[in-house]
């Protein structure tokens, strides 16, 4: 497809767009509470604020091919803009297809570097791992047994593991006792943790990488009466996570500013559609985009010190 076609199509689609304007977010595991309460909530709020239609689509389970199918089907309905959760590099093709169809496309959470997405806003899971690693090192001052768990085989999560491992490399005193798959399931996380605790009564810390890891790990540690002594770092700051930090069972949460992902992500799409900031008399012809190429929202570090402000914010 030559670029001129792209231009023509996207230009004549523009008329329709401003008529019935709609922004569609496609994620996977659409029902995951964390997504619902942060990404989707902020996205909806943004929609109301700018009174434009916003829709949230995607499979209920973690199923990347199904997310791709959904995107493919959405492209057919020519929405004004696409906001895509960058769950896996395999999304690259369908993203390119959307871009080629002239649909402004923003990827959030994890980047899909090998795609032509117009913009990415999110964080680097590697950094999430690093953050957990460094905090854990502090908490157990550089020595002791550490276990970690998450959903094995997910791209972003494996990156997170890597980040953490690279930190631990420099601390020979840290012994890794195992990498476990909690299948995004609280009971499973709890089961694994208590098994690990009996295997290693001297366990120093546990790192969790999906939103169900934290509560599960904490539960097992509490039930073994080692709350506070076994250090826990994990991701996400759902109410249950915050409560556990407050009571001192979890020591650090590596949180993402997920509200920002979808709020600004949507705003980028909006600005692209409305050409809020024109940099040339046709940015498309010029082959440029009038929105940031990569935005790293940075991470939030939640510990006992600052947890209250988050709690109150929610209640």
């Amino acid at each position: 497809r030559s670029s001129t076609e792209v231009v023509k199509q996207s230009i004549d689609t523009e008329e329709i767009k401003t008529k019935n304007e709609e922004y569609v977010m496609v994620t996977t595991a659409v029902t995951m509470p964390m997504y619902v309460n942060h990404d989707q909530a902020a996205f909806k709020k943004w929609g109301e604020a700018n009174n434009v239609k916003v829709s949230i689509l995607g499979p209920a389970e973690w199923d990347v091919p199904a997310q791709i199918n959904t995107i493919e089907e959405v492209i057919g309905t020519h929405p004004s803009g696409l906001l895509i959760n960058g769950t896996d590099p395999a999304l690259a093709q369908v993203i390119n297809k959307a871009v080629a169809a002239g649909i402004p496309t923003v990827v959030y959470d994890s980047d899909i570097p090998n795609s032509n997405r117009h913009a990415f806003i999110g964080t680097d899971w590697y950094e999430i791992g690093e953050m957990q690693g460094e905090e854990m090192v502090k908490l157990i001052n550089g020595k002791g047994k550490v276990a970690y768990m998450g959903i094995l085989g997910l791209n972003n999560m494996e990156a997170g593991f890597q980040g953490m491992l690279d930190v631990f490399k420099n601390y020979p005193g840290i012994e890794l006792v195992g990498k476990y798959d909690d299948k995004a399931n609280v009971e499973e996380a709890a089961r694994i943790t208590s098994d690990v605790l009996s295997a290693h009564p001297d366990l120093a810390g546990v790192c969790g990488f999906d939103s169900n890891s934290g509560p599960g790990i904490a539960l097992a540690v509490k039930e073994s009466g080692k709350a506070g002594r076994v250090k826990i770092t994990t991701v996400d700051w759902e109410p249950e996570h915050l409560a556990l930090v407050k009571e001192g069972t979890i020591h650090m949460l590596a949180g993402q500013k997920r509200e920002l992902f979808t709020h600004y992500g949507a705003q980028f799409l909006y600005d692209m559609v409305h050409r809020t900031n024109r940099l040339s008399q046709s940015d498309l012809k010029a082959g440029i985009t009038s929105i940031p190429y990569i935005v790293n929202t940075g991470l939030i570090k939640i510990t006992k010190e600052n947890v209250d402000s988050f709690l109150n914010n929610r209640e």
Binding site: V36, S194, S198, P215
Partner: protein, 315 residues
């Protein structure tokens, strides 16, 4: 004698469990046979086992229910919702949660028994529906539940957490009922030959509906216990539990074609899988390999069982 024992799955399984326990205690003298480890194992399998009892009764009568995992989540979330947002007293809330589960069981049972809708699709569809309801009830997780609610599962008796006792109670109760009461023995006849049972004056349809209500009710109980144990109700609880539970029941001697199975088998089956998982963690099998090894052990066990049966039935 020996051949008799091998004929009865619960005996052969019990023996196997004893052997495994002894071997593990010898190899890991100071990590495996500790009070903490063993009581923790029981605690972790309490949810599954309570659900497995209901599933066992369904399997005896020749049906099964895939929606129990979702019901666990639903019951927990609904109870929490009632407690948290309607501020009703704990007993009332718990009753509501469990009754709602029983009602779901009734829908399944009615449509399957009286409208003869395919059980597989019926309960699979219900799985999706109920999971959705759980999500709607809880939004994300529901936190800080009343003290008395958490006490249900978090308090201890003889140093063992309550869910273990509830589990044992359930097993004993239903073992008695199924062995000694005419009412429950009917399920063996229904599973054995439905038409003949009908012509012998057993109200097959009614009995089936009751079985579904019972098993859903037990799933509801499990859900309440789990969320009380977590001190929070997560809509993600009990994911994939249905297959774990059916596996446990079948390991324990049930069969999809109905007519066979004994209640204690539910516990033994669940216990077997929990032990294997525990031992794998203790012996430092990494996450990637756990599923593989668990699978191989499962198959190996059943295979050995068959071979031994053949061998000794000859004698």
């Amino acid at each position: 004698m020996l051949s008799k024992i091998l004929q009865e799955r619960i005996y052969s399984l019990a023996i196997l469990l004893i052997v495994v326990t002894i071997v593990a205690s010898v190899i890991f003298p100071n990590t495996f046979p500790t009070f903490e480890n063993l009581s923790q194992i029981l605690l972790n399998l309490s949810t599954d086992t309570i659900v497995a009892v209901g599933m066992m009764i369904l399997l005896i009568s020749g049906v099964f229910d895939l929606s129990v995992g979702s019901v666990v989540a639903f019951a927990g979330c609904l109870t929490a919702y009632v407690l948290h947002f309607l501020n009703l007293p704990v007993p009332v809330a718990v009753t509501i949660g469990i009754l709602a589960s029983v009602f779901i069981g009734w829908i399944n049972g009615y449509l399957i028994a009286y409208q003869n809708i395919n059980p597989m699709i019926q309960t699979l569809a219900m799985l999706g529906i109920v999971r959705g309801l759980a999500l709607l009830a809880s939004g994300s997780a529901i936190q800080n539940l009343p003290y008395w609610f958490n006490a249900i599962s978090q308090s201890k008796l003889l140093g063992v957490q309550m869910p273990v006792w509830y589990m044992l109670l359930t097993i004993i109760l239903f073992t008695f009922l199924v062995n000694k009461t005419i009412f429950f023995r009917r399920y063996y006849y229904i599973g054995g030959n439905e038409k003949a049972a009908d012509l012998s004056g057993i109200r097959v349809k009614k009995m089936k509906v009751i079985a579904f209500m019972l098993s859903a009710g037990l799933a509801g109980v499990a859900g309440v216990l789990l969320s009380s144990r977590l001190g929070a109700a997560l809509p993600t609880m009990g994911r994939g539990l249905e297959l774990r539970v059916i596996t446990a029941a079948i390991l324990g001697g049930a069969s999809l074609s109905g007519g066979s199975g004994k209640i204690p088998g539910a516990l033994l089956g669940a216990l077997f899988m929990a032990l294997i998982a525990n031992i794998m963690v203790i012996s430092r099998v990494s996450g990637y390999w756990q599923e593989i090894i668990l699978g191989i052990i499962l198959i190996g066990t059943l295979w050995a069982d068959k071979v031994l049966q053949k061998r000794f039935s000859k004698i």
